[in-house]
Subunit: 717 residues, 2 copies
């Protein structure tokens, strides 16, 4: 249905792509690094923020599905008008970082989630769980979130304005660089309108020429902004005299601000808790029960779809950075031994992905390569089969729901960018008008979480596997006759015991012989008597014994594909948007694939003639029974206007009921992207729609099967 | 599929049913009153609490789907073993009122939600929205929740134990009454095991005979426990010397405890917020946008499915009273004029509901009547068509998902039981082993919420309707020449102006004539000069004018059906549970309707023979393509055992792959409830399953169409 685009070379990245390394003291979930946007406009106070258009340098503007320049203002006006989403509590002034989904956004979200559930949970027999958002303090203390899930924050001492420290440094330096460029008479990258706003805001800093050395220093700082910790950011602020333009003051030194929302569970205040920042912890805590549910079988995956919460310091990027968001996360538990093979890997090994690996980035390049996941795993670019399998499955999912194939890449985290528990991590990034946005993270979390929770609680979060061939070992063991040993050595008892237990296998073998021969042994025990201690046979026994292990016990590793549904939804909107040029005015179209489109069919009666009513009712009901969602537009607007309105909602099909319908029961079926139509009796049209929605047929198939209709009055315009 | 049960007379209620009236100072959401359970066992500290079996007196024990006595312990063991749900954070000791859903619970919940979405949102073209859980203080202050959404709480002064005051009073009085009964040698209603526990806990209070007058007084208090406010509960505690058995001390006087979880939004602490206690407010705040999305058309409904939060004082009733729960709410906006007619009411008017109306309850009776909703609305039992329409639709939904028709009733709230904004409210109650549980509330919220939010924010949360016939009115109007009027009367200006504006139409008419004749008028202004004030023509003009109104502006009323998905899910489990007697041991079966069952098909290979593998793979894939969820059980257990295990999961169908399959491609299909089987080739079996799941065919139809199979080895024993 969707016209296939030629896949162009992926544009190289700006320096921004490098700025991902977390400072060493702050834990970053690899799946959703929070600073992919570094925009000069982030401090705009609008509750419906206009995203900036920071794009790779060779891409001067974002493009629509048809390659037209993307007019963000027009798209946002469409999204607001059609209520895809809207700022929450707007009549109360709004709260930044909180959005409500209106009917089309809600249906789009539900369809993406439904596709996700089918693609991952059903297709792979995953164990879905639904855990609570409320989480007691102790759990997130153990997982490391209480101590480390934070951003650096500073404050204007006069007006109290709060900044994310890294964003503050970036903003001021970028403003100065812009002023320098202007003073040098160079072209400024950003759109004229943005630059104007900026100029107004940062009055007094404009058009000041900087020394070449200063320019270079600023650029180097910006290139590694994510590498600084709070202290270093504070030093930068002092060293470069960075001030808040609104007050002319230096902000306070950066302090860590934990991003979790806190609350208290129960009536007494002794059970502090948080809103979970990820769904993962609930899945880890249920590991033992899930393993049992799975009859002990390994590997297996759990999955969860639910809201998570992060109290962002100053969210200003629409749906791309919000405080409450829907996540879909998979925790795939796998035996760390055996190279994390995946039994279905052969099914995906030929799938080609666009990869930007760690080594390329570290060598200062941003060139991507397109290669099969089979090759990438074989060559070691991707660590193991299980990780590779999920990268390919993520790719297939994004393709299925309508992500533009030319605007997706997989970027590997650099070593210092990953959370400390991860051994490898790849982000699926989608190109939007804001730049590359990480929409899915796929991390190898190793055994970190299960280990810390097991250690804290004593719960056996392990797999016990019966060994087919029991493992037999022979070892020299020492048995201490505790009842006599302690009283004999008195205060030195513990020290002597420790020395005995520390003896190596070789020493034990030698001493066993000595004991057999002499009835006693002498060993070195520094700090007791003269450093030599005699032990007689009645106090100690040394024997060689066989040990047979029938069970192998291990803590599984976790591969975690983690999806930010809101970010995917927004990217999907941009990727499927284009403008149909018309005689009077251009009209927006959202070319969602039929399976994802919020509504599948618009029913349009030619006029408000009463004769049409029974046909409308019957058709609606038939569509409902067929499981196809439809909407009726019986307004007085022209058919063209109504279809046009509907194109904005991304509805792929339209059925017109006209006087011919009254005569012979036939209706026309219009396809959104081509605006072409066929005409047939209702039963045929409905089954055509069904097969178009479930992907069994294309519009070309339908045009081949059913007669084309070319009624002039039904044209769009 | 599910055997139809004869609908017996609904058992009358205990006094409990009366105890619903909220005290006057606490706002109660009618949809989920929080005290339907008043159990002697609520203070058990188990994280997987055993629900008590408070039942109507003529029902000595709860029953299964087949009328067997319900063994709660066995059922709960099944639910835990099969991981339907599990206490959250159990390895950390658990948190009361928080539960995670495991794979079957999760699928059951998803299927209920899916059925709900189809039955309500799609069927009725509702506008679904997804609003945030995080809600700023101001919104819930306006809605009344900050001040009034509370329960009464008291505390033991020594050990700090916290009680819900009404539950505390109930518990102590019930314990005394039990002791009295024992002393009189009467049979105690509760199960022996419960009574024993109780005795142990309240040692020292057992078997003390009370005066007859005291018994009567206690019983009267218990019968109206929900009518007491905090002060009155405190008085009862003092008057009757009610003490905490654990310490022998009187608890502190009750204080109001707000049930909302509070948090802070953003990095500065100046935006306090709450986790929403209901999804409704988000829908109300979006009213104007939704109306516009609906092209101004009225009536219309919005709907929302999402989590809500209530910080219960001491939740102890499993899924029936939790702190985090999934709700599905509809807000149907309707013109308050025109008796709230509903255009599709005729479609449901013949549906018969079991009703327990307000008047019956107030006259001290609990007898229900079964009558058509058409009759109930006509006679005024149910206030209006829209409310009636939704009651019928709720009934149809509950029936569709498999609620036992003999265990459902609609109970009307009594006048003093409703929230102050409601004009009528009915609860759909389901009978469980805990008694009648309100699972759906259906309230007429009038214009309360839209009015308070509009007043607070100034947002026009109204419908503006063009009048077909403009409304013309003629009135005498007064125009004050403000520039002269004020300076002329100086300090008396405001008082004189108020007196002028307060003049009636009749007075204005008379004075207009006087003004025309004399060029001045004299009016009474008490408190100014001698009480008479003269006003000349240059200060005031009185004229008769025509006013034409083309627009009617009104605030819609709201009918709100509100569903507690977790409560429905739990009730559904009890309603569909029964025990199949076997040779060795009885086995639990959950007879969910196929459309709701967590998994539709179990695939069972006869043995682990390699020959079966390609058939298993192919069958799984075909089922997936057909949209039918399946699970494979390739364990070594006997086929009977595997089917039996599966009956506990409520899977309606089983397919066996055996050596005949290898020969001719046929498989057997087993139906869970009858354990009968048919055999046919896979394509036929799959389409049979599809039509069984979508409700197109019954098992009887399939037995008629496909050959019966009676392989002895496949029988469940």
């Amino acid at each position: 249905m969707k016209p296939l685009l030629r896949i162009p070379a992926i544009p190289p990245l700006t320096g921004k792509a490098f700025r991902r390394s977390p400072d060493s003291t702050i834990l970053r979930r690899p799946s959703f690094a929070r600073r992919f946007i570094a925009s000069a406009q982030e401090h705009t106070r609008s509750v419906f923020p206009k995203l900036t258009t920071k794009l790779p340098p060779n891409m001067t503007t974002a493009t629509t599905l048809k390659g037209q320049p993307l007019d963000k203002v027009t798209l946002e006006s469409l999204l607001r008008r059609r209520m895809f989403y809207t700022p929450s509590f707007e009549i109360y002034g709004g709260v930044s970082g909180l959005y409500d989904y209106g009917p089309p956004g809600c249906a789009l979200q539900a369809n993406i989630v439904d596709a996700w559930r089918k693609h991952f949970i059903l297709e792979e027999d995953m164990l879905e769980v639904d855990c609570t958002v409320l989480t007691p303090h102790e759990v997130l203390k153990t997982s490391g979130h209480v101590d480390k899930f934070a951003d650096w924050m500073c404050k204007d001492p006069k007006n109290g304005e709060i900044f994310r420290a890294d964003h503050f440094v970036e903003d001021v330096l970028e403003t100065r660089l812009r002023g320098d460029k202007e003073a040098r008479g160079l072209k400024i990258e950003e759109k004229e309108v943005d630059a104007k706003k900026k100029r107004k805001k940062t009055k007094g800093q404009e058009a000041i020429k900087l020394d070449d050395a200063v320019v270079q220093e600023y650029e180097e700082i910006l290139a590694q902004i994510d590498n600084y910790n709070g202290e270093q950011l504070g030093e930068l602020i002092i060293k470069h005299d960075l001030k808040n333009a609104a007050t002319g003051l230096t902000p306070t030194p950066p302090v860590a601000f934990n991003l979790m929302f806190s609350t208290t569970i129960g009536p007494s205040s002794n059970l502090p808790g948080y809103l979970r920042p990820e769904t993962a912890q609930g899945q880890f805590l249920n590991f033992a029960k899930l393993l049992e549910f799975n009859a002990g079988g390994m590997p297996f995956a759990s999955a969860s779809i639910g809201k998570s919460y992060r109290n962002e310091i100053s969210p200003r990027a629409g749906l791309l950075r919000v405080r409450e968001f829907l996540m879909a996360e998979i925790e795939h538990f796998v035996d760390p031994e055996g190279h994390k093979k995946h039994e279905r890997f052969h099914e995906v090994e030929d799938i080609e992905l666009v990869l930007l690996d760690r080594h390329t980035q570290l060598s200062g390049k941003t060139s991507v390569k397109k290669e099969s996941i089979g090759k990438a795993v074989k060559e070691g670019t991707v660590d193991n089969e299980t990780l590779g399998y999920f990268l390919a499955r993520i790719h297939l999912f994004l393709k299925k729901i309508g992500v533009d194939q030319s605007k997706i890449r997989f970027r590997q985290h650099m070593a210092n960018e990953m959370a400390h528990y991860a051994t490898d991590c790849w982000d699926a990034e989608l190109l939007t008008s804001t730049g590359w946005v990480e929409c899915v993270g796929c991390a190898d979390r190793s055994a970190y979480d299960l280990t810390v929770h097991a250690k804290k609680t004593g719960a056996p979060l392990v797999v016990r596997e019966r060994l087919e061939v029991p493992k037999v070992t022979e070892e020299w063991e020492v048995d201490i006759e505790k009842k006599k040993f302690g009283p004999f050595y008195k205060k030195d008892g513990k020290t002597v015991e420790a020395a005995v237990l520390a003896l190596s296998q070789e020493q034990r073998e030698k001493l066993a012989k000595e004991m057999q021969e002499n009835g006693k042994i002498v060993i070195d025990v520094p700090g007791v008597a003269d450093g030599k201690v005699e032990i007689s046979k009645d106090l100690l026994d040394i024997e060689k014994r066989k040990r047979t292990e029938n069970i192998r016990e291990y803590t599984p590793n976790v591969i975690e594909p983690s999806f930010g549904i809101g970010r995917i939804l927004y990217s999907l909107i941009e990727h499927n948007y284009w403008v149909r040029e018309g005689d009077d005015e251009a009209r927006g179209v959202l070319s969602f694939p039929p399976s994802i489109a919020p509504t599948k069919v618009l029913i349009v009666p030619l006029s408000s003639n009463k004769e049409f009513e029974p046909f409308i009712r019957k058709l609606s009901q038939k569509l409902r029974v067929a499981g196809v969602s439809s909407r009726l537009d019986a307004s007085n607007a022209s058919i063209g206007k109504r279809y046009s309105r509907n194109d904005e909602l991304g509805t792929p099909f339209g059925i017109t009921i006209d006087f011919q319908t009254v005569k012979d029961g036939t209706v026309t079926l219009r396809e959104r992207d081509s605006t072409r139509q066929v005409r047939a009796e209702q039963g045929k049209i409905i089954s055509a729609i069904q097969s178009l929605v479930d992907g069994g047929k294309t519009w070309q198939d339908i045009e081949f099967e059913l007669p084309i209709f070319q009624g002039q009055e039904l044209e769009v315009r």
